[in-house]
Amino acid sequence: MLLDKIGSLFIKFLCSIGSISLFSARAVISGFMPPYYWKQIFYQAIQIGYFSLPVVGMTALFTGMAMTLQCYAGFSEFTAENAIPSVVMIAMTRELGPVLAALMVAGRLGAAMTAEIGTMKVTEQIDALTTLSVNSYKYLVFPRILTGTFLVPFLVLIDDIIGILGGYLVGVYYLNFNAANYIRNTLESLVAWDIVSGLIKGAVFGFVICLMGCYHGYFSKGGAEGVGRATTNSVVASSIMILLLDGVLTFVLF
């Protein structure tokens, strides 16, 4: 009985992986074939890249500030305060920047994508697209996945900068670090690979967030309740995938 259940869950899991893989393949392949929906791509770029900036920026600022304070509490016991700028810089670029930006984008945009596409699904708007001879994967899914993959790294970069700036503000104006020393320590520990690895993570997370958001919306059913359930599933799945992939990518890019 228990084996039955485990087996059936495993098969369900494999079916989901297969279904998501097919979905993403359809979207990507259709997207690279003409005609190209530039207007949709531009619209999604504004939604993802521009309108996510405030929430990503705020998160980064306060994380950078809090991190500097927490590091100070620990490092001051070993008179290692000079290491704080480097630690904040490395933590923001390699880890916190990509993960926090991705989680914020998943909460804000992943949910919105699922809700929008899910509503289109249950109100037959996706059927209408198909009967108007428009490939719904190409029109709805590809622009989101494309812009998510290319613009989440951009958000990560902004997140890194603002996070480090938050650390600088607390370090210099609250903990009375010397401004020039703080900047020098930060720049000295700056390695291009730290930033690049964060951007690579951002691209993968962006792809996953948009894929999950679109997939759950596209296959939602059962009216408003179904769309609500799909939205929750989308955010939970994206968040878990972000954390899981973060672990994997950190090992790969270490």
């Binding site: 929906y37 289109m120 059927d127 209408a128 198909t130 009967t131 001879s133 428009v134």
Partner: protein, 253 residues
């Protein structure tokens, strides 16, 4: 004789639920065919199968003589351009205004220039008795009747050969329903378009149909002309038309 739509032994099963059980239909050029039947009898599934939105389990569907199962995706898209659909809820795109909705199929399906598409869209809006002033309104701001008219304008915008109407008067008051029925008759008869409709609305049925098929438990159990609908003594049709609670139709069926 070549039919615009032909189905042979069309079946569709969802799990163990057999929704369509061998439907054979033949719809002629310029004919308005209406499918009636109780809720859950498979009317919407039938239309979605014909349109290729749902893959049938078995049987053959031919549109303009072409077996849709044998068509490439590209050919299927071309066939779909010759089909207009008026969905039950309108299915207007929320993020686009009226003119963008009506011109959508022209721009993205037929690749007409936006300027030309807007000109055609305005003509189609006029054809459904709407003027320029609604062009920039978004679907959320439209009444039920206006939404249906805009959806009808969108359905005829690409000059289709066949239009599918999915419960076109559901949720509308009798007067607006009458207006929509008139528009449907005008659009189909004046333009010579074939129409396949599904409806529960008996007034609408009498108004828009040339021929009627009664769907019961996944099968067409009666077929006849608009006139035969009134004169037949088939107990299923009589009960359905008169809305009697007693008869072969039961709540469970």
């Amino acid at each position: 004789m070549e039919y615009v739509i032909e189905t042979e032994e069309l079946t569709k099963t969802f799990g163990s639920n057999e929704v369509l059980r061998g439907i054979s239909l033949r719809i002629k050029q310029g004919e308005s065919y209406v499918v009636i039947g109780g809720s859950g009898s498979g009317k919407s599934v039938l239309i979605k199968c014909i349109l290729g939105l749902i893959e049938p389990t078995g049987g053959v569907i031919k549109i303009n003589g072409k077996d849709v199962a044998k068509l490439s995706p590209k050919e299927l898209y071309k066939i779909r351009l010759k089909c207009g659909v008026l969905y039950q809820g309108g299915a207007l795109f929320d993020s686009l205004n009226v003119i963008e909705n009506v011109s959508f199929g022209l721009i993205y399906g037929l690749h007409v220039s936006p300027k030309e598409a807007y000109r055609i869209a305005l003509e189609k809006l006029e054809a459904v008795d709407l003027d320029k002033s609604v062009a920039t309104i978004y679907p959320a701001e439209l009444s039920g009747g206006m939404s249906k008219r805009v959806a009808l304008a969108r359905a005829i915008a690409t000059d289709p050969d066949i239009i599918f109407f999915d419960e076109p008067t559901t949720g509308l008051d009798p007067i607006t329903s009458g207006i929509i029925n008139d528009l449907i008759v005008r659009c189909t008869k004046e333009m010579g378009i074939s129409a396949v409709s599904i409806t529960h609305d008996i007034n609408s049925l009498k108004h828009i149909s040339d021929r009627v098929g009664l769907l019961f438990k996944g099968k067409i159990i009666w077929e006849g002309t608009n006139r035969e609908l009134i004169t037949t003594d088939n107990p299923y049709v009589v009960q359905f038309i008169n809305g009697n609670s007693v008869g072969p139709f039961t709540a469970a069926s």
